[in-house]
């Protein structure tokens, strides 16, 4: 499964959800869906914008963990 580590990166950059939302250009509600791992897909444009604002790579935000059987 894919784990979204957006909250970790936001904490490292000391950035609030509101600030990230304003700078990325997506709503707080959508950002919250992404942060809590409820999103089904992420657009490359959104991922690119988040990486630009947080100064990181997609690998810093997304992580793959094998499902436990």
């Amino acid at each position: 499964m894919i784990i979204v580590n957006l909250d970790v990166m936001m904490a490292r950059r000391k950035m609030s959800l509101n600030e990230l939302s304003e700078r990325v250009g997506i709503t707080v509600a959508n950002l919250s869906i992404l942060k809590t791992g409820k999103a089904k897909a992420v657009r490359f444009s959104t991922l690119g914008a988040i990486c630009r604002v947080l100064d990181c790579t997609p690998g810093d935000i997304l992580e793959y963990r094998p499902d436990e059987e």
Binding site: I26, N30, L31, I33, L34, K38, A39, K40, A41, V42, R43, T46
Partner: protein
Amino acid sequence: MKKTSNRVFTAVCVFALICTLMWVVFYAIQTYFVLTTGSGDGVINWDSPHIGRKLTVFVINRILILTMAGLMGAFVFNILKYLKGGMIFNRANVVLLWVMAIVLPIHSFISDNMGSACSDADQFDWMLTDTPFVYAIVGVIVALLYKVACDAAEEQKLTI
């Protein structure tokens, strides 16, 4: 959703609600005349030896009309409710469409037999045409398509 589309959808939904209401009112008036006009063609033949069966078909028909009107009204009302949030597809309507796909063929079968139930003839013979099957097929196709569209809309909504 664009404002224009929103207005068009609202207008269509309100029109559908008015039509459903008119449908119920029309059959309420017709029910009064069928039951009070007396024996004859187009109304209940009270002297028929099969009056029990004829009346049963008539009552089931009226109940099914009310059920279908309720289902259609709820369907349109749900669309109007979710339209404010920019969505016309919702899970409640998926369930309503599946129920309609079951009720509609039964309603069609009973309606086909209303001619016999409300006739001057003493006899009552059950009639089965292809109409209930056609309605069943169309109902299932519409319910399936709506479900697919609902799934796609939900996925689109959760694509950030």
